[in-house]
């Protein structure tokens, strides 16, 4: 029997709490293992990380720079702060930017009460938006037999793109355009219903807002269940 490989253990401090972690773990993973909450939006357990939403930015002592906890890995002796006035201010501003970017009307949204953006807004103490609302005119694609895409509610977290490419393997979703004109699309920007969609519905389950929803849930609560991802991953590894 060969000896168990030596595990490289790092000790660090997060919000004043001394914690230990395996080398290569991200700050986010370690924080959550230790019940320290860091807000996230584009991150989802079971998908690759892109570091796009910038809500999980944390401070590391010794540098003025901020680091996205979802991709920054732990280092020995690191002193991490996950919540400070500066971080809270940035998080609120980022959420304001999201609310003002498209047309988020919580009161009439299918995801009202089950929306990660809405919840984050409340958690971060957002009671109003200081920025002018952009109110762009955007498409709603209802061509799919089971699901709807409402661009008005999309925050471009790209979870749908990643789950379709990485887990389902179909890669019918991607992002077109760039900057403020970026848009998630199916195939050659064709109606979703005419695309090569496998109808698995994973994208709907991982969508944090009401941008992707199940048509049968209109008018009734529409919680999403993205927890299936880590379980799916585990089952695959076991086989």
């Amino acid at each position: 029997m060969s000896p168990a490989p030596a595990v490289d253990i790092k000790t660090l401090t997060i919000d004043g709490k001394e914690v230990s972690a395996r080398a290569g773990q991200t700050i986010l993973e370690v924080a959550r293992e230790n019940s320290i909450a860091i807000p996230t939006l584009c991150h989802l357990d079971g998908l690759s990380d892109v570091g796009a939403c910038r809500l999980c930015m944390v401070e590391i002592a010794g540098t003025p720079k901020l680091f996205p906890a979802c991709v920054a890995t732990v280092e020995e002796g690191q002193v991490v702060t996950t919540s400070s006035d500066r971080l809270k201010k940035h998080r609120r501003t980022i959420l304001e930017l999201l609310f003002a970017e498209r047309n988020h009307v919580c009161s009439v949204c299918v995801a009202n009460g089950h929306c990660e953006l809405q919840t984050l807004g409340q958690e971060q103490g957002l009671t109003h938006i200081r920025l002018p609302y952009r109110n762009p005119k955007l498409e709603i694609d209802g061509s799919h037999e089971r699901f709807t895409l409402d661009q008005n509610r999309c925050i471009l977290c790209t979870r749908c793109v990643r789950v379709c490419a990485e887990v389902e393997g179909a890669h019918i979703w991607d992002v077109m355009g760039r900057g403020i004109d970026s848009m998630v699309i199916t195939d050659l920007h064709q109606p979703w219903g005419e695309s090569a969609c496998t109808r698995c519905g994973k994208c709907v389950q991982v969508c944090p807002t009401g941008a992707l929803f199940d048509k049968s849930k209109v008018g009734s609560p529409h919680p999403k269940y993205p927890e299936f991802l880590p379980a799916l991953q585990m089952m695959r590894e076991q086989q």
Partner: protein, 165 residues
């Protein structure tokens, strides 16, 4: 393992062979996508769904990914260009030298916004982010040929010459 046969050329237009040639030179590797799009764009003047689909399928790139690439880069165009193209440089040096007026006057004269082609398909009005000839600002490209130190009147005169022809 399932192997998908490469798609046939969309038509017997010889230009597809040139496009195919670029892909072959790169061993039909996925990373040849942008190089191949360049070839197709310069062969056909623009990229339509047929071209994107053909290239994506040949290189085994998902359709949505190929479309994402095409629309990310401003050099690629989804619509055919006009018979003539006026490209106005909107780089910083040109802006300081008043290129915004050249652009506004051209838009007004042609009745179209930048990036568009006149309804008769004659003239496309484009902008470029610096062609690197800042020493000659303000600069425009008249059917691709660089002309520097231009006034609004000269630009309108050029448009009128095209319109008459």
């Amino acid at each position: 393992m399932i192997s998908l046969a490469p798609p046939p050329l969309p038509s017997d237009d010889k230009r597809w062979k040139i496009v195919n040639g670029t892909m072959r030179r790169h061993g039909f590797a996925r990373h040849a996508l942008i190089e191949t799009l360049h070839t197709a764009q310069s062969s056909f003047g623009y990229l339509d769904d047929v071209a994107i689909k053909f290239i994506a399928k040949s290189l085994r790139v998902p359709l949505s990914q190929a479309y994402g690439v095409v629309t990310f880069y401003h050099h690629f165009s989804l619509k055919p260009p006009g018979k003539h193209t006026l490209t106005i440089c909107t780089g910083t040096a040109c802006y300081i030298k008043g290129t915004d007026k050249l652009l506004a006057d051209s838009e007004k004269h042609l009745g179209i916004a930048q990036g568009k082609t006149t309804p008769d398909g004659e003239i496309s009005l484009m902008t470029a982010r610096c062609v690197g000839a800042c020493g000659r600002a303000p600069v425009v490209l008249v059917d691709g040929e660089l002309v520097g130190q231009l006034t609004s009147e000269q630009v309108i005169a050029q448009l009128e010459r095209w319109e008459v022809a």
